[in-house]
Assembly symmetry: none
Homo-oligomer: 147 residues x 2
DNA sequence: GTGAAGATGAGACTCAGTATCGTCTTAGTC
DNA sequence: GACTAAGACGATACTGAGTCTCATCTTCAC
């Protein structure tokens, strides 16, 4: 995602294009992973003296409104932000080795549709977590119980 | 969910059975909807002088550990808690009126099977939460946007 | 009943996020 | 390019959820 495209998308959603917002978008994308507002603030503050904490929160709000970033309601107390993640995050967590894999939205959509149709709910957001053993741990477990 | 069953489930998961934990479980179930720790605290405080705020957080933690309550990661800054039956891990929460319905395991099983088959995971437990508008609220919303 | 482990209540503390305020920047208009 | 109003900025105070500490009390295995 280029800076110009961020600028365009901000402009298209009626958000002002400011140096700070572009810097936050840059840092978010450069991170290449989920980041908290605090992490972004510390990073930006290191490179740009006088970068405000409130500015990071306001910039993130604007970026989310413009669809440039997404806010994930997940774990802990702090929200996680991610650059332009198109899909939701569903997880497959191995209770043995702790590995976490992400599940594609495609798996969840049919259930959501069925539930919506059957119960009359209008579903806006979904959160799906599976817990169990990953392929490697399942194999190891199988060996052990077999042997 | 009777108080005795809450006590049993606490005991089974190695959690102590205390008056406060049972009161929190009661209040949560009586609420019949998603509640924040703060709401529970205020409610319990009104009925039981000297009920501690930290106690509510600790009790909720114990209840979640015992499978008596579930913590929903959604919306605002505060977590939402909801009373839940032992066999049900899936919820449909209305973000407008706060009502929570439980989703039958049958909806989730096919997805779990597909994920297990596709990714080689052995799935032991699944948590599915949907957020949106219940039938009544969706209808009200429709009326408003239409009129 | 006893004692140790663990829970409680009070309240201080941490930390994410918001509000406020005076100043500065953006962007539309000329 | 200059003007101007709306809105963003940085600093910082504030709010509120959740945690930690500590002295005291309760639970529960024996």
């Amino acid at each position: 995602m280029s800076a110009s495209s961020v600028a365009e998308r901000l402009h298209e959603s009626g958000e002002r294009v400011t140096r700070q917002r572009l810097l936050v978008a840059d840092a978010l994308e450069a991170g290449g992973r989920q980041l908290t507002a605090q992490e972004l603030y510390e990073q930006l503050r290191r490179r740009h003296r006088g970068f405000g904490r409130a500015t990071v929160f306001r910039a993130l709000e604007a970026l989310v409104a413009a669809g440039v970033a997404r806010r994930l309601e997940q774990g802990g107390n702090a929200h996680l932000y991610v650059a332009c993640a198109p899909s939701h995050h569903h997880h497959l967590a191995c209770t043995r080795c702790g590995r976490v894999e992400e599940i594609d939205e495609g798996y969840v959509r049919p259930v959501a549709d069925r539930v919506a149709a059957d119960l009359g709910f209008r579903i806006d957001d979904a959160r799906l977590d599976f817990f169990g053993l990953c392929a490697a741990c399942a194999a190891a477990e199988g060996d052990r119980s077999a042997g």
